[in-house]
């Protein structure tokens, strides 16, 4: 497999900084990470599941697109800094077109006269065009949750990508990459890879793999580990406006200190790290990645200074024989419209409008897979857990009305029925701006497993000399 390379100077500590928690996160966060203090690596997660299908559509329209275009604007700002300071950048912003992304970065580097730059791309995760071959080889790509065969949705597929782990990124670093652009890669792999590379970790040492994976999980949602979205004593957090994104200070023995740059907002405490550890997990003893199975019940946390939490004692088990595959397919259309009703009797009015709208849709004979109405200001988040309110104390209620259907026509027709309620329904209503709600594509997911032996990641280096 991978060649072992002996480093001349093995580092005894590296600092890995998270720059983005999702595509759409704070634009300036990566810039602050490379300028407000010392770091060795900048890692950025751009890919949510829905992002892959959007990028695939962009690539279908233009073969030079299909990656996180924000990344190019960012590289214009930070390349002169990362290049000078020797900071390596690892990101999955390559989306469904990592080569085009890397080429765009090379173009930026040339314009900026950066000099020597090696940009690596990780390929092979996109299996959309070889599904038949994979199915022929005996992998049915059955839905992990329902057990149904993929043939049910095969002709509606928008994207199909394998989640690779740290291994191809490690190979890219060993081959001298300054920047690593991947497609679908686990968020945790982005952070684990530089630890494996810098400390010469054996990838069969599963406690170490788990330690780096846990650090990756803490970093993958950006400021969610430094005080953002913190449900503990959130009011005590200072300077949200300049919140610092997390930094994992990693040591060769697998210990990691989570911190952030000095003079930034937010906090790093037992509480903020614990909240991120439980975020989007299932069985905590089996956190499965392509690199290992980490046991989150083994993790120990210790506050060792202001905004410094030590993460240690992490245990891991061998990785499974499978990669996870995430497929997306189109599944009809949906639209949402809103109307705002004011005091007095705001909720009563909104409820009446809801009944009128439902009756009109019924009279039109439109067929929907689902109709849903929510009353923002009353029950849109906690549904039937919300206690009934004294209506005289309600200043306003937003009726949020949504439909979903297989056919575009029904959803479009619904969109024409919202505004008329202003003149043909309950009084003191406003907030209808921005035109009729348009049908949007509904993208559904198809999670599956594929034996690791059926796909192989490939690493390609693009050089600027």
């Amino acid at each position: 497999m991978l060649k072992r390379v002996q480093h001349k100077f093995m580092k005894n500590k590296i600092r890995i900084a998270s720059g983005q928690g999702f595509w759409g996160d704070l634009i300036d966060a990566p810039y602050h990470q490379v300028t407000k203090g010392d770091i060795d690596y900048l890692v950025m997660d751009y890919l949510a599941e829905v992002t892959m299908s959007i990028l695939q559509k962009q690539k279908n329209r233009n073969p030079n697109l299909g990656y996180a275009t924000d990344l190019i604007d960012l590289m214009k700002r930070i390349l002169p800094i990362t290049s000078k300071k020797g900071i390596k950048v690892i990101t999955n912003g390559g989306g469904v077109n990592p080569v085009a992304c890397a080429e765009a970065i090379i173009q930026v580097a040339m314009k900026l006269d950066i000099g020597k730059l090696d940009v690596a791309v990780v390929l092979g995760d996109d299996i959309k065009d070889c599904l038949d071959e994979i199915i022929q080889k005996g992998c049915d790509l059955n839905n992990m949750e329902t057990g149904e065969p993929i043939t049910l949705v095969k002709d509606k597929l928008l994207s199909a990508n394998v989640y690779f782990g740290a291994a191809p990124i490690v190979e890219a670093l060993k081959r001298g990459a300054d920047i690593v652009i991947t497609g679908r890669t686990t968020d945790t792999g982005l952070t684990l890879a530089p630890m494996i590379y810098e400390f010469g970790w054996d990838m069969k040492n599963y406690d170490l793999m788990a330690a780096g994976t846990v650090a990756g999980h803490i970093l993958e949602c950006g400021a969610q580990s430094t005080g953002g979205n913190y449900l503990g004593d959130w009011e005590s957090i200072e300077n949200f406006a300049e919140i610092g994104f997390p930094i994992a200070e990693a040591y060769p023995n697998g210990e990691v200190i989570i911190t952030k740059h000095e003079n930034t907002g937010g906090i790093v405490t037992f509480g903020t790290i614990a909240e991120q550890l439980v975020y989007e997990i299932g069985d905590p003893t089996e956190y499965i990645t392509p690199d290992c199975v980490a046991d989150f019940t083994s993790i120990k946390l210790e506050e060792v200074g202001k905004d410094r939490v030590r993460v240690y004692n992490v245990k891991g088990k061998p990785e499974t024989e499978f990669y996870k595959v995430s497929c997306s397919y189109s599944s009809g259309y949906s639209a949402t419209g809103t109307l705002t009703y004011s005091w007095p009797q705001a909720l009563t009015k909104a409820r009446k409008a809801d009944r009128i709208l439902r009756k009109r849709l019924e009279n039109l004979g439109l067929k929907f897979d689902e109709i849903r109405s929510e009353f923002v200001g009353y029950n849109a988040t906690h549904e039937n857990l919300a206690p009934e309110l004294d209506e005289d104390k309600i200043n306003e209620i937003v009726l949020r009305f949504s439909v979903r259907a297989k056919d575009r026509h029904s959803v479009n027709r619904f969109g024409q029925e919202i505004a008329p309620l202003i003149l043909t329904g309950p009084p003191s209503v406003t907030g209808f701006a921005g035109g009729r709600p348009k049908p949007k594509d509904v993208v559904a997911y198809w999670p599956a497993l594929i034996p690791k032996k059926l796909v192989e990641p490939k690493v390609k280096i693009l050089e600027l000399k």
């Binding site: 975020y279 905590p284 083994s298």
Partner: protein, 105 residues
């Protein structure tokens, strides 16, 4: 017997895993963890989310960080972009669970 709202002794975070929601609840101290470990059962959580969670509730313990993790299946209206819910990713469900009152011994 007195009761205490979960909000007074714990915090947490929630998110989506397909159509399932995950809710992690973290006790503020060891005494709080003893309370939630004993009294915050999968059955109580399932009953609390009646009409919202339409599947089973799985419960996991993380005593190392004073936390419990709950997986609420069939909860997010289909998940992803299929869901018509305002909170399609279950981001506010941790706060919703903190409404629960538990009996004090």
């Amino acid at each position: 017997m007195s009761r205490i709202q979960l909000r007074k002794i714990a915090h947490g975070r929630s998110g989506d895993k397909g159509d399932a929601a995950n809710i992690g609840i973290i006790a503020n101290d060891d005494q709080g963890y003893e309370l939630i470990a004993k009294h915050l059962t999968a059955e109580k959580v399932k009953k609390h989310f009646e009409g919202i969670c339409h599947g089973k509730v799985e419960r996991y313990e993380l005593p190392n960080i004073r936390a419990l993790n709950f997986l609420l299946h069939n909860t997010l209206g289909g998940g992803g972009t299929v869901s018509l819910k305002h909170d399609a990713q279950g981001k506010t469900l941790a706060a919703a669970l903190l409404r629960l009152e538990i009996d004090l011994p």
